[in-house]
Amino acid sequence: MNPADLSYWSKVERLLDAALDRPHGEREEFVRAHAADAVVAQGVLDLLARDARVGDFLEDAARCPRDVRASDGYVGEAAPPAAGQTIGAWRLLREIGSGGMAVVWLAERADGGPAQQAALKLIRNGLHGTLLRERFARERRILSLLRHPRVARLVDGGVADGQPFLVLDHVDGLPITDWCARHHASPTRRIALIRQVCEAVAFAHARLVIHRDLKPSNILVDAQGDVHLLDFGIAKILAGDHSETTALTAFGGRAMTAAYAAPEQVEGRPLGVAVDVYALGVVLYELLTGHLPYRVPRASVAALEEAVLHEEPRAASTAVDAAQAQQCGISLGRLRRELRGDLDRILATVLDKNPDRRYASAAAFADDLDRHVRGLPVRAQRTSLRYRTGKFLRRHAFGLAVAAALFVAILAGLAGTLWQANRAADAAREAHAEATAASAVRDLLLGMFNTSDPDIARGRDPSASELLDTAARRVQAGLADQPALKARLLGVIADLNRKLGNYALAADLFGQAAGLPAMAAAENTEERWRLRTGRAAALTLAGDFDAADAEFARIETDPDRSTQPSQLAPARARMQVELGELRRRQGRYAEARDALDAALAHYRGAPDDDGHLDALHRSADLELNRGHIEEAAQAFHDLLGQLRNRYGEDHTEIARAQHDYAAVLSQLGRLDAAEESMRNALEMRLRLLGEHHPAVAESHWSLAAMLRQQGHFDDAETHYRAALAIFRDSLGDDSAEVARVYNGLGALALARADYSGAETFLSQAYERYAKALGSKHPEVGITLNNIAGAQRRLGRLEEAEQSARRALAVLGAALPDGHHLIAVARFTLGSIVTMRGDFGEAVTLLEPAARALDAALGTAHPDVARAKLQWALALALNGDVAAARVLVDSVAIPGNDRRSESDSLYVRGRVRLLAGAHRDACPDLDRAWRMRDQLGAGAQDTATLEAELYLGACQLGSGDPSGSRHIVHAGRLLTDSPVAAPIVRRDVPGLMRLAASRRS
């Protein structure tokens, strides 16, 4: 193509691009107005004119092979599936459905397992089939946690003889649209069905599973009129973990699916829960009006997609006709009236093009439908113009029912114990106290539900926190004649607040209760201690360590002389457990150990006390902090057994132990077991605590850290972000927990080689940690250590060294000798000092680091190998080549991730090169170079260039002249590089001269 043609076609292509963005009717005018000249205009118009004529040109070439081949499987097995055939552990019974993506068979277990019928999907798409197995393995653990009566479970799946398949619960039902048509369901019935669907969708969303392909054929209604959702999470398996697109690809099924796709899905943008909310809106629209929200002239995917993107749906009330009214069993006029107003507005909100303006969740959508049905004003009415912050609506998740149940249970129990406490009093007084207590509790409960609080009166269900607020206000204002009851009730409300994660409020309420004048009496000493301990514990959880310390000091100096020490022993043990927790969080581990040992000594005499297991748990936590990892793992394992004996399977304490056990397993490098345990903990906490509880965030955070270590960076980020949002909402942006998430995001950025991103996140973490925990806390030291790593990678060696020295100082002062985190800080500093060129000091840092890590983590741990290799490099550079050689040959290269593998190969190659062992060194350096090249941040990545430079040196040294090319290439770029290490830059001139001399 000659230059004139080239220029012509470039102009044509650009203008064509712009013209295709315009509606059909405006294209010609647009082209004529914007073309550089008449020839270009004519060229574009010729192409546009072809739009109507190209038909399937090339489309069939792109799609035909798949369609033709996919049905019979291309890898030899030409026969279509037949009844009686077995696939994996399943025998096919009869075909029950067929779609673009799969043929569905009713199947039964054929492997002697428990008799079970299920729906078996034979996936059609060949290319996807090969990838299905690993995606399936990845997703199935998540999906297996989706246990909900309205959600069909994923039972099994895999690839059998080249045929990918999925097995799901078999549901005998009709698509929701067909069911409604057959039963002439009223609009109200149709709305009720969608609300059932919303509930199941909300359940899955809380577990971070998006359906992505909701449509009537995936929503079945059974003979009892209950809905069942099919294929939850399946779209992700079929579309792939990495592309956040939906499975809109299946030819044939595509037009139907596109009809329920949200605008962001059509555009291929990242997806959130909002796509499911949108799809639910489309289904409701279809159920109410009898057709889809967009009327497109012909069944064309492109026209439909354009409508989804740009067209506002017609109001439902004007889109219905007599046929639909008949379907609903009412007159057209009545149907219009029912839809006009609220439902039009609800549908406009749920079908908003902008996902941020839709209902923030399926629950919020269901809630508004519910309000409409009950005749209450809907929210869509008032806020459709206003940007919804999801936050306002999310507060709902913790419902009235949970709070009421908690309260009734606890207060009923309380009323029972109150009079027992007054056993000394005579019968009349006893009866009177009982009556007063009972009526006080009754009033309290009634008051909670009959509140005049304007916030709650706004019509939405009050959250548990709001109920507690109301309760607290009523207790504070009343019960003047019942001080003991008042203190107890405040204590209960405070404790519930602590459980809900409202730590500051809990501390305040405990303080109010303990401060009541009646509490000062000698007979209330034990109660006073408990309340003060509660306050100190809440302050500890809130991160206010100074105030917690002061509270413990008040208990220690409590002027109590009348009470027998033995009577106070249980309260004292409780106090010591909480004091141990404070000391642990402060990083004062020796004192923490003393406090917990004192408490455990008491519990040895009272092993059935509830506090015993708690003390054991905190003790295991502490061992973990002290670096005694194996001991901690054993302790958690034992604790879990004891907890299950006492509480059964489902309990927040079990979730907590499982969470902590997972953290320990992860430190021991048993990542699979750790991930499983953590996912169980997260699931249990979601179930028991709701999705906004800090404990849920804690599990999100820990799971993220594990996923990060396993290299699942995108999933890790999702969980980090979930944790961040919850911690921010519940504990405040400046809390230590938010800092912890930032630290994690920083580590994630480091792993992704995004060093400046890492530095930003880590600085965010550092500021918050220093403010929340003080500058001497171990977390501050760990963060500084990570910052040093980022700065080193960014080539800012001086700053990196300063950060590393501060990290080492903080950790050295805060942690016991031999702790592996001190060794990690030494390792970081030693690496930096090596890069600077002070090999003597580097050896004195790296040798103890390597030895301490070996002792703490075991020889097989990848960090130990890295430390030893770095130590060997410093030794070799310092002149002790023989010792270095022996050391590197004793180390196995860690294969856990490619970055540390390439780093380790590089270091080993360098040492071997320094030792003159070219034959061994060259392959190491060659592999390190190639790996870094693939991992690296572009061709000028310093680590890649360094590997290339020494590879060149090694090749030259072993007589291979091609080394010159590498040296010259890498040497030039390194000389100009601002981030190259001084020791490397020092080597460059000499190597360049050597290369030049070998060339000539």
Partner: protein
């Protein structure tokens, strides 16, 4: 060559090592053709093999499944699409010359291999030429077409491979079809027949 070697080569090719790409192409080309011929010898039930099936089978044979990573997979399909294009065009040329009464058919004729495909042999040649024209001013459109037509990737997979939005890929595909249609059917003949 073992599957491990190919996997390494693929990794290196992704890193942009020119030599690795150069080494990979002929291997893919040969392997695609070898499997195609083996299939032809295997009897009628195995005859109707098509581009996607071929590419896929080569993938299964050549790639060490335990070591391959997602981006490498996608790159494989990128290279395979190019190799597939060469094979189809070479074969179409041969068929074309056979039809015109040229030389004897090759010892192992691949003529019937791609019967299922919708483009006839002359069209493959025209398409090849049209793609080269297109490459002159928009290499990305060529990539999109190669991946969709020769490797049988969906628009979603192409978007992922080329790191483009789905919308962009669909738009590219739309544009490319119009432009290639113009190159291959300058008179604007209808496709509907």
């Amino acid at each position: 060559m073992t599957s491990g070697d190919i996997t390494d080569m693929l990794r290196e090719a992704r890193g942009g090592t020119r030599a690795a790409i150069d080494a990979l192409m002929p291997v893919l080309y040969e392997e695609l053709r070898r499997i195609a011929q083996a299939r032809l010898a295997g009897g009628p039930s195995q005859r109707s093999l098509n581009t996607t099936g071929l590419v896929h089978e080569v993938y299964l044979r050549l790639i060490d499944q335990s070591r391959i990573e997602w981006p490498d997979r996608l790159h494989f399909y990128g290279y395979a699409a190019t190799a597939m294009r060469h094979i189809l065009v070479d074969q179409a040329r041969r068929r074309h010359s056979e039809k015109r009464g040229g030389r004897e058919p090759a010892a192992i004729a691949t003529a019937d291999l791609f019967e299922g495909d919708a483009v006839d042999s002359a069209d493959w040649i025209y398409l090849d030429q049209a793609l080269e024209h297109l490459r002159g001013f928009s290499p990305r459109l060529v990539q999109v077409v190669e991946l969709r037509v020769f490797a049988g990737l969906t628009a979603e997979e192409v978007a992922e491979l080329l790191d483009l939005s789905l919308r962009t890929v669909r738009r590219d595909w739309h544009k490319a079809r119009l432009i290639l249609h113009r190159f291959m059917r300058p008179d604007g003949a209808d496709e509907s027949g």
